[in-house]
Structure formats: structure tokens, C-alpha cells
Amino acid sequence: MTDMTNRSAGKSNAEHISAGLARRHRKESILKGFGIAAISFAFLILGILLMTLVSTGYKAFTQTHLTIDVYVDPDVITRDALPRGAFDDLLENTLVEEFPDVDSSQDRRALLRIFSNGAQFTLRDRVVENPDLIGQTVSLNVPVADNFDQLNKDLISRDTPEEFRRLSDQEIAWFDALDEAGMISNPINFGLLTNADSRFPELAGLKGALVGSFWALLTCFLISFPVGIGAAIYLEEFAPKNKISDIIEVNINNLAAVPSVVFGLLALAVFIGWFGMPRSAPFVGGLTLALMTMPTIIIATRAALKSVPPSIREAAMGLGASRQQVVFQHVVPLAMPGILTGTIIGLAQALGETAPLLLIGMNAFITSAPSGPFDSATALPTQIFIWADSPERGFVSRTSAAILVLLAFLAFMNGIAIYLRQKFQRKW
């Protein structure tokens, strides 16, 4: 092997290499392009998802209302039989006064359907509360029925031929007349948050679901937080390195990956079947969610404990503190931001969890908010499931709106977690 041969080999290699360079860089660009394409795909789907939710959901944040003066006719409503009075007749008469040419009883009933089904009860409740209103004129501001709400929001097109439309030409004409009279308004729909569930989309709200989710999350927190932290502290700081600790460790890691529906089966069989706890109760839901959240909290807490440097432990230990004093007075407080962050993220996951709640019956149709954790209730995600499954068109936008509410809560919780992480993050 002489110097000459090597050198000449080197030279020809250099030419060889530069010849292939363009092709190799092209390959690299292709790989890069694929990567960008993959990320764009994910972003695109996320974008479409959010856009769809907002574009279908925002319409449910307002609700078409009809404002009308109702004369509480003493001939129709009497003091003796107030709650069972024929308030629907009252409303019907009022509308017929607006449209004097309507006379057949069929048309009169059709006219009444402009009102939401809840209108008569709103009126009834006001009169029951204050019976002096009988004989007077009451100004009533109530939601219109779903179909008219959709008409007002252009979700029902006037251009559709009548036979394919859910509203007849006559009904549209009535509605337009009311609109022209300035009786139709479209204010912000507070009912979405303050009403409980209903079969009628225009009346359905999330109050029951919000309260139910609140009780379930509270239960979940009260159980999973102390137990999870306790378990993590034991495993990280006190557990001897032996077979039993290994089993517990493997067990917790696996538990974190068990499908959520299996926890639902557990809850159904054990809590409801064996312990006889009530179905559909947020307490049972919270208990189930706690079992699922616990592994998340344990894993996050252990990571937080691990990140506290041993020097802190040694310093405290050197001053004669007992092991528990070291852990509870020094390590745990320092790890607290990490623990809280993990807990909030775990709770946010629990808030969005649906399947186990379905199995314990938290998808019941309940028209009042629960007054405690043992009452039947729905939760936000199960309410979304119920609405998504409902055939009425009005529930489509309600479902999107409910999802937006749920996502807002999740964003809020994760925001707190991120804030905690950034504010208290320590570099050791």
C-alpha cells in the first residue's frame, strides 16, 4: 500500500461523494417533508375538529325568545286550581289575538307550537308564586320551540321545498309576522348553564351535568389525592426493595393502562351489585374515577418526589430529623407543585372520562339538578353522549356547545397545571 494509491483513492472518492450529494440531500428533504406533512395532518384534523365544534356550537349560546303580553284571564285560570290551570289555553288565546284569522282548532294548536313546551310552565310558576297576577297582563319572555329557533338561526332554510322542511309555509309566515312585530329576540342563552336536562332542545341545559360532574370530581379528588400521595410516598421513600414492592409497582403501572370501561365493570359489579350503592349517583361515579385517577397521581407524585435532590434529605437527616420528619417536613412540601400539577392533570382526565360513568347509569334522563352526591345525576361527558344520541336537530348545536363548555373547563384546569409548573419549577 503506497502513499500514491491511497491519495488517488481519496481524490476519486471525493468526486464520487460529491456526485451523490444532491441525491442524498433530496432524500433528506423528502423525509423532512413527510415529517412536516404528518404534523400538518395532525394540526389540520385538530383545526377541523375545533372549527366544527365552534361553528355548530356557537349558535346554541344564544336562544330565540318570544316576548308577548299575556292576559291572565280569570275565566280560564282560577285561584282554587292554580297549578292545574289551563295555561296552555291562555297562551293559545294570546297568540290567536295576534293572528285573528286563525280559527280552526287544528291551526290554533299549531300556532301554540311556536312556544317552547316550557312556556306554559314558566307562566304557571309566575302566577302560582303571585296569584294576584290573575286578571292582569303579564309580559312573558320565553324560548320559542326548537324548529323556530333553528329557523331564526338559518339552520332551517326557507328555500327548501315545503314538503322537505320541518316547518310549513304557514308556520314560517306566523313567525315572520311575530318577528316583524318586534316580538322575537335572540339573547344570550343563560339557560344552557342554568337549566337542567330536557327532552326539548330549547329548554335543555347543563346544570344537572355540571353539578353532577362537580360532585363526582370532588369525590374523586377526596379519595384519589390522599390515597395516591400516601401510596407514592410509601413506595418512593419507605418501601423496602423487595418482591412485594416490585409487585405493587408493576401493578400500579399496569393499572394506569387498564381500559376505562373495565373500571366501569368493576364499579357496576362491586359498588352497585355487591355494596348496594345507588345507580347514577355522582358519588359512585367519583369513586370509580378515583380508582382510575389514582395511578396517574401516584406516578406523578413519585416523579415529583424523585426530583427533590438527596442533598435536602441528607441535610435534614444530619440535623437528627426522623425519616418521616424529613419526608413530611422537607421533601413533600418541595415536591408539592409537581404533585398538584399531576393531580390536576389526572382530574382533568377524569372530567372527560365517559365510559365507566355510562356503565353505572350516569346517562339517565334527569330533569333536575342533583342536590347531593347520592342523587341521580348525569355528568358533563355523559350529558354530551345523551345529547349526541338525541334525534332532535336542536341537540346537534347543544352537543357542540356542551363540548365547548367541557373543553373550556379542561383548558382552565390544564392552564392552572401549566401555571403551577412554570411558577414553581425549580432547577436543582
Binding site: 491511497n6 481519496g10 472518492n13 464520487h16 461523494i17 460529491s18 451523490g20 450529494l21 442524498r24 440531500h25
Partner: protein
């Protein structure tokens, strides 16, 4: 340039393989190399010595633009390879690195077979026209790295299964398989035992016949044993550069003397 005044002028300019002028290097706000100028001769072993953190490894990584892979790293000044600026926009670092091989502090064989480790460079650069061609390249590289006899029967076993010294020689074989013109070695023996070190040092001496070898070392004895030229770095400055024998016996700069006698470092 202040530090360069004492650099011997007897270098044969035409023989310079690499010529660096006024190289400065910043890691973020840290000024790691200050105005370094040096000429590295072909077919010579040049060693960089100095206390840790003096910038010798950073400078080595400038020579094949490995610092490009570090986001916060900024290099200014001129480094010429055969009279061409390696930092010029027209120079592709990929091609540059094929011309300038590098061996690292810790042996880093890929988790592949011994054969695939050595064949990796030629393969990506398309240097072999056929399987037989490739076999020949691999054998030649392994022979020159003086490891052929030890591995010829197990070419298809993982390279990570070799001993530390063997792994390092495998990495050298991998580096020379692409027929580079310069070989950079970043403390190649620091992770090796004395016997393996001796083998690698012997190999470096062999390689001098074909390549310009630049070796960073923390061991003055090693520098004295293997290199013909030595550069002493201190706090980012190139303090002194010259023939190894001369620099070790009669250093010109008091800092060099302090280092050689163990007062700094």
C-alpha cells in the same frame, strides 16, 4: 495574534493541510475560543493539549463542523482545508465530514454488526460498486485499524459486544473506511485501559503515513509519545505551537512551562 508570535516559523507552508486563522467560538455568551490560528501539516500527528475546558476539543470539532449540530454555537474566523474555506456556503458539511474523519472520546459503535459498522460510511457515500467491493473496503479498513485478526471470524456479531479497546479500534476502522484525508481524534484513549491504549497509540503512528492526524489528549505523555507537533491551549487561547520535542523540553511561554511542570491544569 499575540499568542502566535512565538510559533515557530519553520513550518513548511505548502505542506499545511489545514490552516486556521483567527477562529473565535461562542457557546451562547461563553467565549470558548479566542482568536486561534494554527497550521496543521499533512502526514503528521498533531496533538492538542491543555487543561480541561481550555477549548481544545471545541477547536477540534470546528475542523469538521461538528459544532453545527449545536444550536447555540457560533464560529467566526477562517478554517481552510487544502486552501478552501470549510465554512463557506458552498461547502456541504456532509462532504466535508467524509473528507475529515473523527474518532470520539468514548467508543461509539452503532448497535449493528461489526461489518455494518465499518461499511456504514462507504455505504452512505456510495463508495462500493458491489458486495465484493464492500467486503474489500471493510477488510482493508479493519486491517489498517489492526483489528482484523481479532474480528475476522465474527464480522456479523454486534460491534457493541467487543471490548473497549476493540470498540475504539473498530471506530477508527469505521472512520478510515471512507478514505478521509484528515483524522480527528478526541481523547481516543481516555476510556481505555493501558494495554488497549498502547495498541491504539501504535495504530495512530501507523496512520500517520497516510493521513494528517489531529489528536486531543489530556495526557502529556501520550502527546509526547505519538505526536510530532503539539499545540498547547489555555483558557481558549492557543498559547504555544511547535515541534513536540522542543515544546516539551524548552517551552517558550511561561504558561506552557507551568502546565508541563504541573502548576496549572
Amino acid at each position: 495574534m499575540n499568542d502566535m508570535t512565538k510559533v515557530e516559523r519553520d513550518l513548511n507552508m505548502s505542506d499545511a493541510k489545514i490552516e486556521a486563522r483567527g477562529v473565535n467560538l461562542h457557546y451562547g455568551t461563553n467565549h470558548a475560543l479566542k482568536d486561534v490560528s494554527i497550521e496543521i501539516a499533512d502526514r503528521t500527528v498533531t496533538s492538542f493539549i491543555g487543561p480541561s475546558g481550555c477549548g481544545k476539543s471545541s477547536f477540534l470539532r470546528c475542523l469538521n463542523r461538528m459544532n453545527d449540530t449545536i444550536d447555540i454555537c457560533r464560529v467566526t474566523g477562517q478554517i481552510m482545508l487544502d486552501g478552501q474555506d470549510i465554512n463557506a456556503a458552498s461547502v456541504d458539511p456532509v462532504q466535508l465530514r467524509a473528507q475529515i474523519g473523527m474518532v470520539f472520546q468514548k467508543p461509539n459503535p452503532f448497535p449493528k454488526s461489526i461489518y455494518d459498522n465499518v461499511a456504514y460510511g462507504p455505504k452512505i457515500h456510495g463508495l462500493a460498486k458491489s458486495k465484493a467491493d464492500m467486503d474489500a473496503i471493510v477488510e482493508k479498513a479493519l486491517r489498517r485499524a489492526a483489528i482484523w485478526d481479532e474480528v475476522k471470524d465474527r464480522l456479523h456479531e454486534p460491534g457493541t459486544g467487543l471490548s473497549g479497546g476493540q470498540q475504539q479500534r473498530l471506530c477508527i476502522a469505521r472512520a478510515i473506511a471512507t478514505e478521509p484525508e484528515v483524522l480527528l481524534m478526541d481523547e481516543p484513549c481516555s476510556a481505555l485501559d493501558p494495554i488497549a491504549t498502547a495498541q491504539v497509540e501504535e495504530l495512530i503512528d501507523e496512520l500517520r503515513r497516510d493521513y494528517a492526524v489531529v489528536i486531543v489528549t489530556h495526557s502529556m505523555q501520550q502527546a509526547a509519545r505519538v505526536s510530532q507537533k503539539t499545540a498547547f491551549f489555555h483558557l481558549g487561547h492557543l498559547v504555544e505551537f511547535g515541534d513536540t520535542g522542543r515544546l516539551f523540553t524548552t517551552p517558550n511561554d511561561p504558561r506552557t512551562e507551568s502546565y508541563l511542570t504541573g502548576r496549572i491544569g
